[in-house]
């Protein structure tokens, strides 16, 4: 089976200046497949692509092309070509010479070069532009030339680094369709990098979702959309309601303070979980027998094809619903969710866990600071311990200097009745916080944890 993989990436890691940009990346690409590396900026996707192209050497791991490790081979010897984010067309050459650049290096006969360049120009609908200087072309035209320049060499794999990011929305949509068409016609394997989830869903056979240097999920667009494995994927791909829940038993889950039938099994009984319900999967009904819960519409916005409504449930949660029919603000509505449309996910964490060291009966050291703490009996000064802090016990302060630790809001999720924040401290630690206050991504905050909130547990080793 392994023979079918044109690219096979094994245990790839890369650090820059001590920061791990990619952490144990494993995935493979089938011959002829359209694979998208999807993630927010800074997730490592471009670094990964540049390693495949050969511009960055991995610290650890292997990149196999047709079963052979190419890690030590320089870019100019790899049978791969790249479409660069800002095209990087040679300004001193015209369109024809840009496209012919790779073929001339291979010293092909002039006739063959001409035939192949012309064929490519036709493929990207740029015939008649061959004598134009690349600087006289529009962004979309430059994009086409960049694609032709890469594809004319018939690479084994075409690497595309956010190729459409610089185009306006309309042009981007057109180019997406064209790219898909080119992929189909040429039969060449594409590895595509983007931060645009919609683009990834439209184009890809397989999506690899990356965040903070790790693969979050690999799957087809429908898999990724319908069955996200964690909150990050659910939040990043499409709109979603992400809610705290509890798996009662197989096929039965509780959230927004009531129980629902679902289709998930194997979580165990009475286990905390996260539940994802897509806004288009919450239905309005007028039939009291079908109604599972009631809510009141608190906002309604027209979004082109559908209306986006926020409703307050009787149990005190806020949910987003998308529907073709609007319900005026203030309307009492009856709602239900199909068991199929409830996606249950393992909770990645239920509390903060830090390494701590007891300094005296009233203090511990953790996260590089000394904290007041009610040290339980049985701990002596110098003992190593584990400190647990519940998400809701962490306090966030407006000014970094007011807190014990300075940090930045790194990621946030709305969970229906509260926000779940990831705080990245200046030392690079993560602290997770549940709060009702509204913060934005990138806000600088001070972090404090009251003595009561720190629970020391003996380390079992």
């Amino acid at each position: 089976m392994a023979k079918d993989y044109i690219i096979d990436i094994q245990h790839l890691s890369k650090s820059f200046g001590g920061v791990k940009v990619l952490d144990d990346i494993n995935f493979y690409v089938r011959r002829g497949e359209f694979v998208t590396l999807l993630g927010p900026s800074g997730c490592g996707k471009t670094t990964l692509l540049r390693q495949i192209a050969g511009f960055i050497a991995p610290d650890e791991g292997k990149i196999l092309l047709d079963g052979k490790d190419i890690s030590g081979i320089p870019p100019y010897q790899r049978p791969l070509n790249t479409v660069f984010q800002r095209y990087a067309l040679f300004p001193h050459l015209d369109v024809y010479d840009n496209i012919a650049f790779g073929l001339k290096l291979q010293k092909l006969p002039a006739k063959e070069i001409e035939a192949r360049v012309k064929k490519m120009l036709k493929m990207v609908s740029m015939t008649d532009y061959e004598d134009r200087s690349v600087e006289s072309l529009s962004g979309g035209q430059q994009q086409r030339v960049a694609i032709a320049r890469a594809l004319v060499n018939y690479p084994k794999v075409l690497l595309l680094d956010e190729p459409l990011a610089a185009l306006d929305l309309k042009m981007r949509k057109d180019m997406q369709l064209e790219l898909k068409e080119i992929h189909r016609k040429m039969g060449i394997t594409f590895i595509y990098v983007t931060h645009d989830q919609e683009e990834a869903l439209t184009l890809s056979d397989t999506i690899v979702v990356l965040n903070e240097g790790r693969i979050q999920q690999i799957g087809t667009p429908t898999d990724i959309y319908n069955e996200p494995v964690n909150c990050f994927v659910a939040d990043f791909i499409g709109e979603s309601n992400i809610l705290k829940g509890r798996m009662i038993r197989d096929r039965r889950v509780a959230f927004i303070k009531q129980e629902f039938d679902c289709v998930d099994e194997g979580f165990g009984e009475n286990v905390p979980v996260d539940v994802v319900v897509r806004p288009e999967d919450i239905y309005f009904t007028t039939d009291p027998a079908k109604c599972q819960f009631k809510a009141k519409v608190n906002s309604c916005t027209f979004k082109g094809v559908h209306y986006e409504m926020w409703v307050d449930t009787e149990s005190g949660y806020e949910l987003m619903i998308q529907d073709y029919d609007p319900y005026p603000v203030g309307t009492e509505v009856m709602l239900y969710i199909d068991p199929d449309d409830i996606q249950v996910m393992h909770k990645e964490r239920t509390r903060n866990v830090f390494d701590a060291k007891v300094t005296d009966s009233g203090h511990v050291e953790m996260l590089g600071q000394s904290w007041d703490c009610e040290v339980p009996d049985g701990f002596a000064a110098g003992d190593e311990a584990v400190a647990e802090v519940r998400f809701e016990d962490v306090e966030l302060l407006d000014h970094q200097e007011d807190g014990k630790i300075a940090g930045e809001v790194h990621f946030l999720l709305y969970k229906g009745d509260h926000y779940h924040l990831t705080i990245l401290t200046e030392d690079g630690d993560h602290i997770w916080v549940d709060t009702n206050d509204i913060w934005d991504k990138g806000d600088l905050v001070g972090v404090d944890i009251p003595a009561k909130g720190i629970k020391l547990i003996r380390r079992n080793d």
């Binding site: 790249t82 040679f90 001193h92 650049f101």
Partner: protein
């Protein structure tokens, strides 16, 4: 601007077309074109200037390339070391060089002349090229490499053509002043070799203002034509010195 640029220019033109008594004449100009001494000095000046410029390119381009390469040169201090000589008065450097040659017992001649010129003008070649290379988008070289070009091919097919604006402004800054230089030839050849700048200076020194002005005027015209030729397609040359 008017006092320092326009007025002297007007004066040069006025003197160039006057005889000693202040009457209009073309004789100063025609004298240059009929005087074989002046013409051969002029030809020699151009020759020396071309040689100097070529040597400056050959030495300056690799130097600029190394300075602009972050893997080979990690500090701006090395760049400063190359640029620093420009801060010292050229006359002083030339005198020092001449003294050095005397101490070492070199015969002063064309070799020492060229050495002095290269020494004086090399920074003016390095700096614009360095600037262009430094500002060059690295993705061009990457794209070439990605398309199958080994490092040498990347250099010749992409880096060199894209750094031409820097080379051009380097050429302008080296070639033009070399044509009119006189101090270097005076000190480094003991006036054995006379350049165009030298005869202008001699004429003016011996109060032959009109012929001197005519020669200066001819030189201006030639410089003007060359810079128009060189500068027309790089009017936005990225390598400006300041």
């Amino acid at each position: 601007m008017v006092i320092f640029v326009v007025l002297p220019l007007i004066l040069i033109v006025m003197y160039a077309f006057q005889d000693g008594t202040g009457h209009f004449t073309l004789s100063n100009i025609t004298r240059f074109f009929t005087d074989s001494d002046s013409l051969s000095t002029f030809a020699l000046s151009i020759e020396v200037a071309i040689e100097n410029t070529l040597i400056c390119i050959l030495l300056g381009y690799p130097a600029a390339w190394i300075l602009a390469n972050r893997e080979l040169n990690r500090s701006a201090v090395t760049v400063m070391l190359f640029i620093m000589p420009m801060w010292i008065n050229a006359l002083m450097r030339t005198l020092a060089t001449a003294e050095l040659f005397n101490v070492l017992g070199f015969t002063l001649g064309k070799g020492t002349l060229l050495f002095g010129m290269v020494y004086d003008y090399l920074p003016f070649m390095i700096y614009p090229i360095y600037n262009t290379l430094l500002k060059m988008d690295k993705s061009y070289a990457e794209a070439a490499e990605d398309l199958g070009a080994p490092p040498m091919k990347v250099f010749w097919k992409v880096t060199v053509p894209l750094s031409m604006p820097g080379v051009m402004s380097g050429v302008l800054m080296v070639f033009m002043p070399t044509v009119s230089t006189f101090a270097i030839s005076e000190f480094l050849t003991n006036n054995k070799i006379k350049l165009f700048g030298t005869i202008i200076q001699e004429n003016i020194n011996s109060s032959m203002w009109n012929y001197g002005a005519a020669l200066a005027f001819i030189m201006l015209i030639i410089i003007g034509i060359t810079s128009l030729m060189g500068g027309s397609d790089n009017s936005e040359a990225e390598g400006g010195l300041v």
